[in-house]
Symmetry: C2
Subunit: 337 residues, 2 copies
C-alpha cells in the first residue's frame, strides 16, 4: 500500500488546474511534476493561485517529468483522442498509469477502436492502466444511467437530459456554448466544431455497449437556444434574440428504432439546472438530480476519486462502465477498503 | 466464455421464485436444480406457475443438487447471516459461486466480521465468489448513494429516504410492515423483530466504509405510521387509527456527529413513493427516483444482473461497493463486453 500517492499533472488549463488543486489538497496525495505549454519555469503554486511554494516547477517536457516515477498521471489537455494519443502513449511507455479528461477517451471502443486497441495493448505490455473520465462524458450521461439499470430486468430505451443554466459556469465554458455571439457567429462556431459538447457519441457508445446493443444509426444536431429576454451572467450580457447557449441532441437507433436519446442543453438563464434520466424497461425509472451536477466541481472530483480504482485495476484501457464503483476518496489509501 | 450459464435456485419463496422466473426467461441462462423445503418432488415450472415442464424437480438436499456442477447458485432463503451461513459454506465448498439476497450478507464486514472473514477465506480457498445483493440492501440505500459520490470532492453527510406506498407490494410484504394490525400487535411484532426491515445496519456500514468513516454510534428506531383515514390495498383494509405500516430511522455518528441518516418508510397509502438521496458535500447533491424503485421487480433484476460480474470477479466475499458496475444483463455473455 502506497503511503503517499505521487502524481504528475499534465495540462494546467482551467480544468487541469482545478484537478491539480484538488489532488494537492487531499492528505495522502503529493504532486511531483507538472507539464504545461504555458507558465514554464513557474512554481505550480503560482499557476494555481496557492500561497507558498510547492517546489515543483512547470515544464513542457513530458519525458523528463516522468523520470520522477510518479504513481499516476492526471491528464487534462485536449478533447480529441487523436491529438492526445502520442502523449498518452509516452506516459504508458514510461510505465505510469493515467487518468485523462480527454472526452474521446471516455469510450473509444466504438468509433476510434484502432486507437483504443493500440492504447490498450501498450498499457497491458507496460502493466499500467489508462482511463478516460470526467463529469460528462464519464458520469452524468453514461456511467450514471448505466448504474441505474442494475435494478431493471430489461431496458428498451434510455433518455438522458443534462440541462444547465450556464450562468454558474466559468467564462471559458460560457463562451464555448456560443452565449452572446450573433447567429452568424454561432453558425460559424458550429461549422468549425468549436461549439460542440464533446463526448455525446462516446456516452452513447458506452450505454449501448453496457446494454448489449449495436448502434446502427447515430444522429446529432446542434442548435442555438435563443434568449427570449436579456440575460446577464457574471461576465457578459446576452440580448433578446441572441443565442444564449446550445441545445445538442443525439439519438441512436438499434434494430430500426430509437433506443438512446441524449439531450445536452447549456445556456444562460435556463430556468432550472437538472440531470434527468428516463429508463423505459421493467421497471421504468425516472431519476432527477435537482439543480443538476455542477460540472466544474464534479470533473475534478471524479478524476481524483478514480485514483485508487485505477491504482488497483488490472492493466489495460478501462472505461467507467468496467471499473468498480468510483466514489469519494479523501486521499488516504489505508482508509480505502 | 460460457455459452449457457447453468444455475441452481435455492429458496422458492416469493422472492426466490421471482428471481428464478426471471433467470429462466433470459436467453443464455438455464436452470439445472432447485432447492426448497416445500414442494419437494414437484417440477420447478409448477412451483413458479409456468406452462410446460422444465424437467427440474425441487429437492431439499443442497449437496445433491450441487453435483450438477452449476456455474452459479442464486440463493434466497433467510435474512439472518447466522442462519444462512452453513448453507452458504456448503455451496462455496462445492466450488460454486453464489449470489444471495440474505440481507445481512450485503455488508457483513462491520458487525459480523467473524462470519465475513470465514466466508471470504472459504471462497478464496475454493476459488469462487460470494455476493450479497438485492434492491435494499444492495442498491437503493447503499450502492446508489455511494455511486453518486463519484462527483463529490468531499462528503460530510449522507441522508437516504426510501418511502413506499406499500399498496403496490405483495401481500407478505404488506403483512411484514404491520399494516392492518392493532397497536399491541405492532409492538409485539416489533419486540420479536418481525417488523424490522433488515439491512439498514448493513447499508449504513457499506456507506461508511466507502467514505472511510468509522461508525462510533448507531441508533435505529421503529415506529408505526398511523393511518389518518381508511386505506384499502388489494388484500385488506386498514382503518383510521390503525398502523398502516412502518417508519424505521437509522442514524450513525462519526467523530461525534451524525453523518449518515437512513429513513425507511413503507406504509399503505403513502402519498408518493420515492427514493431520495441528499449528499452534503462539495458539491451538494439531491437525487430523486420519482415513483421510487419497485422492490419486487428490482430485487430479481439486480440478482440476475450481477451474474456476469460475479462470474468474472476474483475469488472471495464481495460487496456491491467493490463490484464493477452492475447493470442490465439479458443473459448472453457474448454480448456482455
Amino acid at each position: 500500500l502506497l503511503e503517499k500517492i505521487r502524481f504528475v499533472q499534465i495540462g494546467l488549463g482551467p480544468m487541469g488546474s482545478s484537478i491539480c488543486r484538488l489532488a494537492i489538497e487531499k492528505e495522502g496525495i503529493e504532486i511531483v511534476g507538472a507539464v504545461d505549454l504555458m507558465n514554464v519555469g513557474k512554481d505550480v503554486s503560482e499557476v494555481l493561485g496557492l500561497r507558498g511554494k510547492l517546489g515543483v516547477r512547470v515544464t513542457d517536457d513530458v519525458k523528463s517529468v516522468l523520470t520522477t516515477k510518479p504513481d499516476i498521471v492526471l491528464h487534462s489537455t485536449v478533447s480529441s483522442l487523436k491529438m492526445a494519443e502520442d502523449q498518452l502513449e509516452t506516459i504508458l511507455k514510461a510505465k505510469v498509469s493515467v487518468i485523462s479528461t480527454c472526452e474521446e477517451l471516455a469510450y473509444p471502443w466504438d468509433i476510434q477502436d484502432d486507437i483504443a486497441y493500440r492504447l490498450d495493448s501498450i498499457a497491458r505490455e507496460n502493466k499500467v492502466v489508462i482511463l478516460g473520465t470526467g463529469v460528462n462524458p464519464g458520469f452524468c450521461m453514461d456511467t450514471f444511467p448505466i448504474a441505474l439499470t442494475a435494478v431493471c430486468q430489461s431496458v428498451v430505451h434510455v433518455r438522458v437530459a443534462r440541462v444547465q443554466d450556464a450562468r454558474s459556469r466559468r467564462l471559458s465554458f460560457q463562451k464555448k456554448i456560443g452565449a452572446g455571439c450573433n447567429l452568424d457567429e454561432f453558425e460559424q462556431m458550429k461549422k468549425t466544431g468549436k461549439l460542440r459538447h464533446m463526448g455525446l457519441r462516446e456516452s452513447t457508445g458506452m450505454i449501448a455497449a453496457a446494454m448489449g446493443w449495436s448502434i446502427e444509426d447515430y444522429d446529432e444536431t446542434i442548435e442555438p437556444v435563443i434568449a427570449d429576454k436579456e440575460i446577464r451572467s457574471d461576465y457578459f450580457t446576452v440580448m433578446k434574440g441572441q443565442p444564449a447557449g446550445v441545445a445538442q441532441i443525439a439519438t441512436a437507433k438499434v434494430s430500426g428504432r430509437e433506443t438512446i436519446r441524449m439531450e445536452f442543453k447549456a445556456y444562460l438563464g435556463a430556468p432550472d439546472s437538472y440531470d434527468t434520466i428516463w429508463i423505459t424497461g421493467v421497471p421504468n425509472l425516472e431519476v432527477t438530480v435537482n439543480g443538476g451536477i455542477q460540472g466544474d466541481l464534479a470533473t475534478s472530483a471524479i478524476v481524483t476519486n478514480a485514483i485508487p480504482r485505477v491504482l488497483s485495476a488490472s492493466p489495460g484501457l478501462k472505461t467507467m462502465k468496467d471499473m468498480p464503483i468510483v466514489h469519494t476518496f479523501m486521499g488516504n489509501l489505508a482508509k480505502f477498503t
